[in-house]
């Protein structure tokens, strides 16, 4: 609001500052917090990314076009970019189609066993991204349980594009499934009823009403999975083999060849597809949405029960769910097997190794995620509040800073962090703080989004009622807004915690001798072929995550019952 304040300054009109300044003067504390958060976002999200972009074109001797040209002339750069794009596009399409089939079957048909399908679909979401990679090697590798034991194939080649597509599709189908399911549930069933009452057949209703209404969710799933695939580091690292992606190539240039320029350049290239997908999503897909997603499932009346539809859909769903379960069961089995494919005797050795080696790295992960989680959730809620309810001058910096951190792949963030925080006064390399910062920045946007959605559903006059009763803005926030944001707070706590615990792409650059993380440990064990121990760790990690999520749910239910 830019008011014509000059006219207000007539005699006796009291002091009249320009509107933006008046807003600051009214809430100096809030403005202080705003400045603090904005600066943090600039330092921890924007600056590292800018540094990587700079590093890509600057050598220690200054801007070096020749060096840039040399790097760009190398075929591996373009191969990695092409591979990344092809893998991303394929995985996005496959995962979205599979996710749509599952979501449609669960919300619109009488398919039996929906609970089972849903539970199976959630598994990949709460586990480290590369559990699948571990399983596929054991199942389909050279001495794979299926390829060699079952089919007797020698020299099966599991490494490469085909395996990556399979694994990423399985890992990311749940994302598409949840996304599309939410949209399908929030479509007012009266719309489909109306189509049926107007004489539309099931197929007409599906084509003319349901499909157009969920198109935004379908498109957004495609883009989301694409971004996830571009960002994925663990799976291509383990089973990409000769099929190298940007994330892996950037890592090996940085860590393997100490080629900072090439690493930074590759990471910068990752920004192009990610940002493009993200901007398309923000400025096109989200504008096409007809449904206001209230998060409240509406009553569903029409359910398709004809076997001609339900049977094929069920078959696809069960096949997907069972495949996911097979992969996890494999990891579980391997964790109790001496040397799968070679010596299949059951053993507790791997767990013994784990217990004797100690839980230091798991403890580290829990400890750092435990610190990062509340910071992420609270900062997310505060930023949502500042962006939705307050318009301080400069809030666009905060908005775009957080958006950038979300769209940017973990790799560029990780590389940016080592480049940015290695000199005083920002000397953080090797500390716990740098890992925590990366965890917070990577997950912040999800909290902001949850908080924003929740805030938009809270009638503004509830906060006004508090102000007019004499409460300051700070007071209103803590005693009215924050309690009402609790559902969003809890969901972002759950998200931030699982993500922080299972993340790899950014933190792989940041771990140090003092602070190493469980995901990194598992990765190195897989690389050194200690598959059994890695599998044991994966199982323990999944159990820990499940236990903590269950505990959170318990606390949430208890506190909900208290009111």
């Amino acid at each position: 609001m830019s008011l014509q304040t000059d006219t207000a300054a007539r005699p006796g009109a009291g002091w009249a500052l320009p509107a933006p300044l008046r807003r600051i003067a009214a809430d100096p504390w809030l403005f202080g917090i705003f400045v603090l958060l904005t600066l943090s976002v600039l330092v921890f999200a924007v600056l590292p990314i800018v540094n990587v972009l700079k590093q890509a074109v600057w050598t220690p001797e200054g801007f070096d076009l020749a060096a840039l040209k040399t790097t760009l002339a190398q075929p591996f750069v373009w191969r990695a970019l092409g591979n990344t794009l092809i893998l991303g596009a394929t995985s996005a399409l496959v995962a979205t189609v599979a996710g749509f089939v599952m979501a449609f079957a669960v919300t619109r048909t009488t398919m039996p066993g929906k609970g089972f399908i849903h539970a199976a679909a959630l598994l990949p979401i709460i586990s480290p991204p590369f559990v699948m990679a571990l399983a596929i090697v054991i199942l389909f590798g050279r001495s794979g349980l299926i390829t060699r034991e079952l089919l007797g194939i020698r020299n099966a080649n599991v490494y490469g594009f085909h395996s990556l597509v399979l694994i990423q599709s399985l890992a990311f189908t749940p994302i598409a499934y949840l996304n599309i399911k939410g949209m399908l549930q929030s479509i007012d069933s009266a719309l489909e009823d109306a189509s049926a009452s107007l004489g539309g057949t099931r197929w007409t209703t599906f084509r003319q009403v349901t499909l157009p209404l969920v198109t935004p969710a379908i498109l957004s799933s495609i883009l989301l999975v694409f971004v996830k695939s571009v960002e994925d580091f663990g799976n291509p690292m383990l089973i990409g083999g000769p099929f190298s992606t940007l994330a892996v190539e950037a890592y090996s240039q940085m860590v393997g060849y100490f080629n900072l320029n090439a690493g930074a350049l590759l990471a910068s290239l990752m920004l192009i597809p990610s940002m493009t997908a993200f901007l398309i999503h923000r400025y096109w897909v989200s504008k096409k949405s007809y449904v206001t997603v209230t998060g409240k499932p509406t009553a569903q009346s029409i359910r398709i029960s004809g076997a001609r539809v339900v049977l094929p859909l069920s078959l696809v769903c069960y096949f997907l769910a069972l495949t996911i379960l097979l992969f996890y069961a494999t990891v579980f089995y391997v964790s109790f097997t001496k040397l799968p494919g070679v010596n299949n005797t059951l053993t507790l050795d791997h767990y013994r190794t784990v217990f004797t080696a100690g839980f230091d790295t798991l403890g580290n992960s829990l400890y750092l995620a435990g610190i990062a989680t509340p910071v992420t959730a609270i900062a997310g809620m505060m930023i949502a509040y500042l962006l939705v309810r307050r318009a301080f001058p400069g809030s666009f910096l905060l908005r775009w800073g957080t958006l950038l951190s979300f769209a940017a792949p973990g790799t560029i963030l990780g590389i940016g962090y080592i480049g940015t925080f290695n000199t005083p006064p920002l000397l953080l390399t090797g500390t716990a703080a740098i890992i925590i910062a990366a965890m917070v920045v990577k997950n912040l946007q999800v909290g902001i989004e949850a908080g924003t959605n929740q805030l938009q559903q809270i009638d503004r006059s509830i906060e006004e009622a508090s102000t007019i009763l004499g409460a300051s803005s700070g007071r209103t926030f803590t005693s009215v807004t924050l309690p009402l944001l609790r559902p969003a707070l809890f969901s972002s706590v759950a998200y931030a915690f699982t993500r922080s615990l299972t993340t790899l792409s950014a933190v792989i650059f940041l771990v140090s001798a003092n602070w190493t993380l469980i995901t990194v440990t598992i990765l190195s064990q897989v690389e050194t072929l200690k598959t059994g121990v890695a599998a044991a760790w994966c199982c323990i990690l999944v159990v820990v995550v499940l236990a903590i999520l269950a505990l959170m749910q318990l606390v949430l239910n208890r506190s909900a019952r208290e009111r």
């Binding site: 006796g12 009622a465 004499g470 409460a471």
Partner: protein, 367 residues
Amino acid sequence: MSNVVFQNIVKQFPAAGGAPGGLAVQDLDLTIEEGSLVTLLGPSGCGKTTTLRMLAGFETPTSGRITIGGRDVTHLPVNARNVGMVFQSYALFPHMTVRQNVEYGAKLQNLSKAELNSRVDEMLETMALTPYADRAPSRLSGGQQQRVALARAVVTRPKVLLFDEPLSNLDAQLRERMRDELRAIQLRLGITSLYVTHDQSEAMAISDRVVVMRNGVVEQADTPMNVYARPGTAFVAEFMGKANILEGEVQEIGEATVRTRIAGASFELPRGPHPLRPGQRVRCVLRPEYLRIDPQGPLTATVKRVVFQGGHVEYLTEIGGQECTVTDAQYFHGGIAEQGRPLRLALDTRPVWMLADDQNTNALKAA
């Protein structure tokens, strides 16, 4: 002293795109006497809520000055004004009990524990909410929620109380009861109040003064009686209830009455404050209840449409080419006239009101 004065208030919202939009409120001058209840009435979008929110402090006037009890509050923050407000949606804190809701504002006033409790208890008692003190607001009926909202607004003893369409969420019957309850409590507490509604009967029933607004401008501010019976403009006449505005011609100007010809019949109408001259055309406000069916009546109307409403029958008729609504509560004696039939009407001339039309206004200005 806590009378409220709006002086030359203008409010302009920035339109989308940065260019200045239309004026939501224009040159508003308004005084709310201490202890009185003033209603802002008008069609949707006329600037009622904006005016109210400027007094609350949620909006800042583009220009002009607002004082409460002589103190300039134009730029005072909301939480420093000590005004109470009952919101359209009630805006009860959903995560607090009834008692916690009522306590909230009082707690911010640094009262002693004993004072706080006695005030809150008394307020819950007054509003008949004591049995529900520990319930969540979502588990109350609409009327009870309304009372919690009122209790919460007045427990802090505000200088001014604001209501933004507080009854619009209630069903018709409850609305009337709550309306009377609100007024009784306002009178008892003697609290200066500004009330926004677009329901004219609610406005008349509850207010000391009614302010009719249109497009951000005050059309008329007067007692409920005057706004209804002596409207300043055709807009006010029509907004305040069913009104027939029939054109007539001034024939002869007497001491207290004016002989006026309406649709071929002559009437001695009361002489209003506006200057008149013989031969002038005037517009007369005839409420439907001023007309009655009378076989000897001087006016002849043609029935165009009949609407049966239970307590009365409403005839939409035409008199000398002008539309005119007539109500008949005595239909069980004379029967209901059919469409197309002629209807003889008599007119009770005493309440008839002549509008100051543009010509008259010009004459007034020239004088």
